[in-house]
Amino acid sequence: MIETNITLRKLTADEGMVLTNGEAYGKEIYLGIYDSAENWHEITDGEYAQILAAQEKEEGAMQ
């Protein structure tokens, strides 16, 4: 029998902030085994809303 402890590495955004690696966004992040906290940084909720709006506009233009 092999017993293995698996550790989850969790990042939590501060109030009013969102974590991002430039592609994904979230209030809570559970890092994959090849990922690092250094790849993630915080932006404000307002900045996140602007990014979402820009993505919608870009995808709409591609239709």
Partner: protein
Amino acid sequence: MSIAEKLTAIAENEQKVFAAGRKAEYDAFWDVIQENGRLDHDYRNAFGPCWTKDNFYPKYNIEGPNAGNATFRFFSAQRGELDLGQRLEECGVVFDTSRSTVLENVFYGADISRVPAISAVSANQYGLMNSFAYSRIRTIDKLILRDDGTTYFSGTFRDCSFLTNIVIEGKIGKNGFDVNQSPNLTHDSLMSILNALEAKTEGTWAVTLGTANLAKLTDGEKAIATQKGWTLA
């Protein structure tokens, strides 16, 4: 046959004649709409806002390389949502997108409650971009992805807030799979997503479930993703 007998026969056959007329009208209409079921018929925006659950009764299979090209974009809910899977079964036809090279916007803004199995194995480089965005879909019976994990996602489930049930077949291997705006997903649906994540050996990969969905998973279940090299957002 006397005149009285003829009149009696006409009266007895009235419903049959009426039904035959309706059938001829239906055939003529759908033969034109679906080009007699031609495999290369272009379904781009075919069933948009003017279509409702009261007039969508396809005669032929919806299939071929152009089957999924914004086919149900803005399908209307003026008379209530359509259970597309059930309707296709009633009509005895299938919506087969396994050869469809374009699947962008296939259900964008559609007022459809349930869709049958949707295959994206032949989708081009734009993959499932906006495919279910802004729809009222609650259930996707099955979403079939390529086994090599190359299916592209972008805005696929944007504002798809009604989505509750989804089964994934094949592999999620690219960034961009994001169900953050589908907070009502069942635990089984979330597990189907986690189990479909392709195991990575390097690099940074992320799948976005959102806070509400992450709360439904145990640490052990989250580890299914993280141990395969995926970050959960």
